[in-house]
């Protein structure tokens, strides 16, 4: 594999876009990324788009071709990638492999979801498809319910508290205040989280990521080609890309209190890059629910198994802490436009490594990590990034 870099990025604001449809979100993010790359559209040789459930949300399939059409990229190959909430991260990995293999020099990778066109119940049902339809969703298990059972198992096994989980949401809201693209730019308190109503006990409304519209895009280029074309001014190299899978149904896992696929992906990514967890400067992790961030930082090796709650409560994952996590605001406060999330995580890494993150900048950031999860942990993608 040859070295692959992100040479430009494009993002829409995440939130409720009542005034924009699915195609407009794609065009906005994709065009920004293409224009900022300094390349012509004809230089882009393939496009990969992550999208989970557009058929359920807007009645639209065939997203690969739609993206190429909207961005004026015809007739290049255009492919949709679906891996539930990890669709964006897996799309990024496919673009990385396509360039890394030498098949292409330049590809566009994006992610999109338009979730607010349907009712909350319909959205819950669409997202439930990330689990096992026949044994989970059929029984009434929504995604909050699955993560709630993982959280309760973690609480029982390690003594994790609801307040410690709430601390994840509080921190991520605080970070999002400084992000103009974020859905919720307001601070909340532990008390606010504790007082918000139960969605699926012990998870309350403010433990849960929202329903979001948004799109994100990056342009990937072979690093040597980017150097020749003098496009490395802001280039960020992808120094590792690891993807793993686990059983689709939560009940079939050995332990309910861990995401084993994430641990294996992280170990593989650290091996590829020749680094250790302690070398990571900041991480964007998949906090679809607050306990998911606690399980993520344990799987990624930032703290010991079972100590994620305490580690968060002590401020280690805040900006200025030992390992800042979700400086963008995370899925909780930045928003979670399913297919776009994995790409948006890479964009935050690009901004942090280019010292472009403003008030949420991690000082001296050298290596960034993104962790994108599908379902209750059945797909996990971990990427590592470093400035070229």
């Amino acid at each position: 594999m040859r070295s692959v870099s992100i040479i430009s990025v494009g993002l829409t604001r995440f939130g409720e876009h009542w005034d924009k449809n699915f195609k407009e979100l794609i065009a906005e993010a994709g065009t920004k990324a293409i224009v900022d790359s300094g390349l012509e559209r004809k230089d882009i040789q393939a496009v990969y788009g992550g999208c989970m459930a557009s058929g359920r949300f807007v009645g639209q399939e065939h997203i690969g071709a739609l993206i190429a059409d909207q961005l004026g990229l015809n007739p290049i190959p255009a492919t949709r990638i679906e891996a539930a909430c990890a669709s964006g991260g897996v799309a990024l990995r496919n673009g990385y492999m396509a360039v890394g293999s030498g098949m292409y020099d330049v590809v566009a990778v994006g992610g999109v979801e338009k979730m607010t066109e349907v009712s909350t119940e319909d959205a819950g049902y669409a997202l439930g498809g990330a689990g096992d339809q026949e044994t989970e969703l059929f029984m009434g298990a929504s995604f909050p319910a699955l993560y709630a059972m993982m959280a309760r198992a973690h609480m029982k096994e390690f003594g994790t508290t609801e307040e410690q989980m709430a601390a994840v949401s509080v921190k991520n809201h605080k970070n999002a205040v400084h992000n103009e693209y974020a859905q919720f730019r307001s601070e909340i308190t532990i008390e606010d989280v504790m007082k918000s109503g139960y969605i699926a006990s012990p998870l309350k409304l403010l433990d849960c990521s929202p329903i979001t519209d948004g799109a994100a895009a990056v342009i990937l280029c072979a690093t040597d080609v980017a150097k020749k074309m003098k496009l490395v001014d802001k280039a960020v190299e992808i120094i590792a890309s690891a993807q793993t899978s686990d059983t689709l149904a939560l009940a079939h896992r050995k332990n309910l209190w861990e995401t084993k696929a994430a641990k294996i992906a992280a170990d593989e990514a650290y091996k590829q890059a020749g680094i250790k967890a302690k070398d990571v400067s900041f991480a964007e992790v998949h906090d679809c629910f607050s306990p998911a961030e606690i399980m993520a930082i344990e799987a990624l090796g930032f703290c010991k198994q079972g100590e994620g709650g305490k580690f968060t409560e002590q401020g280690n994952t805040a900006i200025g802490g030992t390992i800042p996590v979700n400086t963008s605001g995370g899925l909780k406060a930045f928003g979670h436009a399913i297919g776009a999330t994995g790409i948006k995580q890479a964009i935050e890494a690009y901004w942090q490594l280019n010292n472009m993150a403003g008030k949420r900048q991690v000082k001296g950031a050298e290596i960034g990590l993104s962790h994108n999860v599908g379902g209750s942990g059945a797909t996990c993608v971990v990427h590592l990034y470093r400035k070229v």
């Binding site: 049902y125 989970e136 059929f138 009434g140 309760r152 149904a249 009940a251 079939h252």
Partner: protein, 145 residues
């Protein structure tokens, strides 16, 4: 599988009549299968043993009807088809043979639904919002003792 696109009055909940019919053994009797060579049991039944591949023959087997709660939740916001059922309880249950499944917990006092509680299989209606009008029945569990 019925997947009518979302519009007023049309439910997207999955479940054609043939699907119900195919699922009777699993949902009515907790029928899974067993690898006769290794003794490994599966629920729902698998076509291929993921741990043994081609090794051993898989044979239908009813799962035990008792188990214990490994984790649980009380759901206050249900997905489509369950929006009028809230609040309801879900649990991951480990059966006495070690096989785990997700189920609703019903007919139980709230205080008794906890990790480690012993549960027993019941036969209940699961949902009736299916597009073809069929009522789906299947397993739910209740706390015993």
């Amino acid at each position: 599988m019925c997947c009518a696109f979302v519009q007023e009055g049309v439910k997207m909940v999955q479940g054609s009549l043939p699907l119900h019919w195919r699922k009777y053994p699993e949902r009515y009797r907790l029928e899974g299968n067993i690898n006769e060579q290794t003794g490994q049991e599966f629920f729902p039944a698998r076509v291929v043993d993921p741990t043994a591949g081609r090794g051993g023959k898989l044979k239908a087997k009813e799962m035990p009807r008792e188990g214990k709660i490994l984790s649980w939740t009380e759901v206050f916001a249900g997905p489509l088809g369950f929006e009028n059922e809230t609040p309801y309880f879900l649990a991951i249950v480990e059966l006495t043979n070690g096989v785990k499944l997700l189920t609703q917990v019903v007919d139980s006092e709230k205080e008794k639904i906890k990790i480690g509680a012993k549960v027993k299989k019941m036969f209940r209606k699961i949902s009736d919002t299916d597009a073809e009008g069929a009522i789906a029945y299947g397993y739910k569990f209740r706390v015993v003792g």
